[in-house]
């Protein structure tokens, strides 16, 4: 953008911009404002016009022609830049081998007819269809129609070429450079390798699916119109139903009843286990021992020292003393108490 007396002028767009203009005070009336804008605009247009009229011009019948410079204001594109087309298989091969295209004449001298004929297309030179007689050779197999064979071979060549064309288009599509008028449309799923045979649904499975479908409405299929001869749904899934939580008469009390039933069932089945005798006994023992320890904590230690000479373990002596009431628990936990004694005695000796 060139700056001409403080204006930015873009001749390519015939655009001018005055970045320093501002109203000192915005005029109150509309006419005044418009007049001011126009007078300022006139100056700007004058700047562009002087730029345009000073460009070298050529005379034309309709008026002087001026070559405009390209626009300098950068504006975004409409569409992305076209991508370069990848070379086809033939182009790659030709490049590797250094094969170059030669221009060929459109018409060729045909010796058979002695006329000029097209190289390709209708009424072309060396057309197979023009040959009415094919000479038999020694190598010919009997029973093979040479004309049909020729047509079939041609068809094969065309098909091969079409396949190659498609491959080239596919690579072009991958690079995003497919010609604008070509579309690649999927006709069917590609058949590759062996395919597993289609699984057949059993009658049961179909029934299940039909049942699921018929109940897949908000009402669980309750209000749906039944078809004539439609059988009731098999294997209908469970619907969870919740009873009202708020207590009341009728259905309201059902919730309470339900929980009561569950609770009573639990209690009745486990009634014999409610009092765990073993656990109760051990708890009783432990509690009692703790109480005793609190009572005789200090005196017991002095007694231990005294009875060191005796063979019986000194620590257990105080335990033995108030055993009168303990006859019953001793029976239950005899083994435990004995073990304890043994372990303690060893320590004492060491």
């Amino acid at each position: 953008m060139e700056t001409q007396n403080e204006y930015q002028v873009d001749l390519g767009n015939l655009m001018a911009f005055d970045p320093f203009h501002h109203f000192t005070s915005i005029p109150s009336s509309r006419e005044e404002l418009v007049a001011k804008c126009l007078s300022n605009g006139t100056e700007l247009v004058q700047a562009v016009v002087s730029g345009v009229f000073n460009l070298p011009s050529t005379e034309d019948i309709e008026g002087p022609l001026v070559k405009l410079p390209p626009p300098t204001t950068k504006l975004p594109r409409e569409k992305p830049l076209p991508k370069p087309k990848p070379p086809t298989k033939w182009e790659q091969f030709a490049k590797a081998k250094g094969i170059r295209n030669r221009k060929k004449d459109k018409v060729v001298w045909d010796e058979q007819t002695g006329t000029w004929k097209r190289r390709y297309g209708f009424d072309r030179v060396n057309d197979d269809a023009d040959v009415p007689i094919i000479e038999a050779k020694m190598t010919d197999e009997p029973g093979v129609d040479p004309f049909a064979k020729r047509v079939a071979e041609k068809k094969e060549r065309v098909q091969k070429n079409q396949k190659n064309q498609l491959q080239n288009l596919k690579t072009a599509a991958k690079a995003g450079a497919l010609p604008s008028h070509v579309q690649l449309a999927a006709t069917a799923l590609p058949i590759t390798g062996t395919q597993a045979a289609k699984k057949k649904f059993t009658k049961d499975e179909l029934g299940n699916v039909a049942g699921l479908a018929s109940t897949a409405t908000a009402s669980g299929g309750k209000f749906d119109k039944k078809l004539r001869g439609e059988k009731p749904v098999k294997n209908q899934g469970k619907h969870r139903k919740f009873l009202p939580v708020v207590e009341g008469s009728g259905i309201g009390s059902q919730e309470k009843e339900q929980t009561d039933r569950v609770l009573s069932k639990l209690i009745s089945s486990n009634s014999h286990e409610i009092l765990n005798v073993d656990k109760a006994v051990t708890m009783y023992n432990v509690n009692k021992e703790r109480k005793r320890r609190n009572q005789y904590g200090k005196p017991s230690s002095t007694r231990n020292e005294q009875g060191k000479s005796s063979s019986t373990p000194s620590k257990l002596k105080p335990n033995n003393k108030p055993m009168k009431a303990k006859s019953l628990p001793h029976k239950g936990k005899g083994s435990f108490s004995k073990k304890g004694k043994g372990s303690f005695s060893k320590k004492g000796k060491a």
Partner: protein, 314 residues
């Protein structure tokens, strides 16, 4: 399997080729459409914009209820229309209590919304309300001048954006050759405040000034209106960078041995090859270097040599 689908007739093929991305783009088409509710003013605004851009615009006159350019999901049908009509500028008018006489001007890149700016139309004066000499009336499709003035166009973000969009909307066709006799109209855009722009369309009267450059006088021919900027959405940076690519950038080749300096201007390096003095042509040939004499000398020396040889043999 894939099948190659090509158009059945040449007309379709040509149309498709017109729409394909090009290295150098020819110009953007404008789509003018409206929402469910429009005011009388807005209808006139839209039809007059269409009238001014008649050569390069498409006008949709049906109500569109699913277009809300600023909302996500509301641009789907707009992008579809852009694809269908191959337009990449759109002007969408709608009116509501919150935003009366609303005009959304936007651009698309690759048929996806690129940027948007929303303006309210105020103080609208239609073309019919202006009286002027009909001789001045500009030709349809002539290239207009566009003039922006006001510092707000550079300092305020929204107006800077609006300037770019208006330039793109109004500038018309990009041409190489311009007929000076066909010049005749000007769009004048003036920033009145930080969010208000005055836009008017004028005819140009060329008067003799004594030099090649004529003196210009502007005559307002309408429409004229005020744009009050409301919402705007700028393109995101990566999209902008991609959209700004030009064919020239790509073809730019590094020129060897030429550098540019701000002070000294364009600088070139020259490499002088070795001077091969022995092969140099002499300006005036002295007698001794003349060709005949040189050859004669050579001949003589050869004879001597042969005679000597003969002597040795014998």
């Amino acid at each position: 399997m894939l099948k190659v689908k090509t158009p059945k007739c040449g007309r379709v093929k040509r149309e498709l080729e017109k729409r394909a991305p090009k290295l150098v783009e020819t110009g953007k088409k404008t789509l003018i459409l409206q929402g469910t509710k429009t005011s009388n003013v807005l209808n006139t605004v839209l039809s007059e914009i269409y009238h001014l851009k008649r050569d390069n615009a498409i006008r949709y006159t049906r109500k569109n209820d699913s277009i809300r350019p600023f909302e996500s999901g509301g641009e789907t049908s707009l992008e579809f229309f852009s694809m269908k009509t191959d337009c990449s500028i759109f002007v969408y008018g709608s009116t509501s209590k919150k935003r009366p006489d609303n005009l959304v001007i936007g651009r698309t890149y690759d048929h996806h919304i690129y940027d948007l700016i929303e303006v309210g139309v105020e103080n609208f004066k239609r073309m019919n309300s202006f009286t002027y000499d009909k001789k001045l009336a500009p030709q349809a499709g002539s290239k207009p001048f566009i003039v922006f003035s006001g510092e707000a166009f550079e300092s305020v973000d929204e107006l800077k954006h609006l300037k770019e969009v208006l330039l793109e909307l109004l500038r018309g066709e990009v041409v190489d050759n311009l007929n000076l006799a066909g010049l005749g109209r000007v769009y004048v855009c003036t920033a009145i405040s930080s969010n208000r722009v005055f836009l008017t369309h004028c005819a140009m009267r060329l008067k003799k000034s004594g030099t090649i450059v004529p003196r210009i006088e502007l005559v307002e021919i309408g429409p004229s209106m005020d744009f009050v900027v409301r919402r705007h959405r700028l393109p995101n940076e990566s999209l902008k960078k991609e959209a700004m690519k030009t064919a020239k950038d790509k073809l730019h080749k590094k020129i060897k041995n030429v550098s540019k300096d701000a002070l000294q201007g364009k600088l070139g390096k020259i490499y002088v090859p070795d001077q091969k003095i022995g092969e140099m042509a002499l300006p005036n040939k002295a007698k001794g270097v003349k060709r005949e004499r040189r050859e004669a000398k050579m001949k003589n020396s050869n004879d001597e040599r042969s005679s000597k040889k003969q002597k040795e043999d014998s």
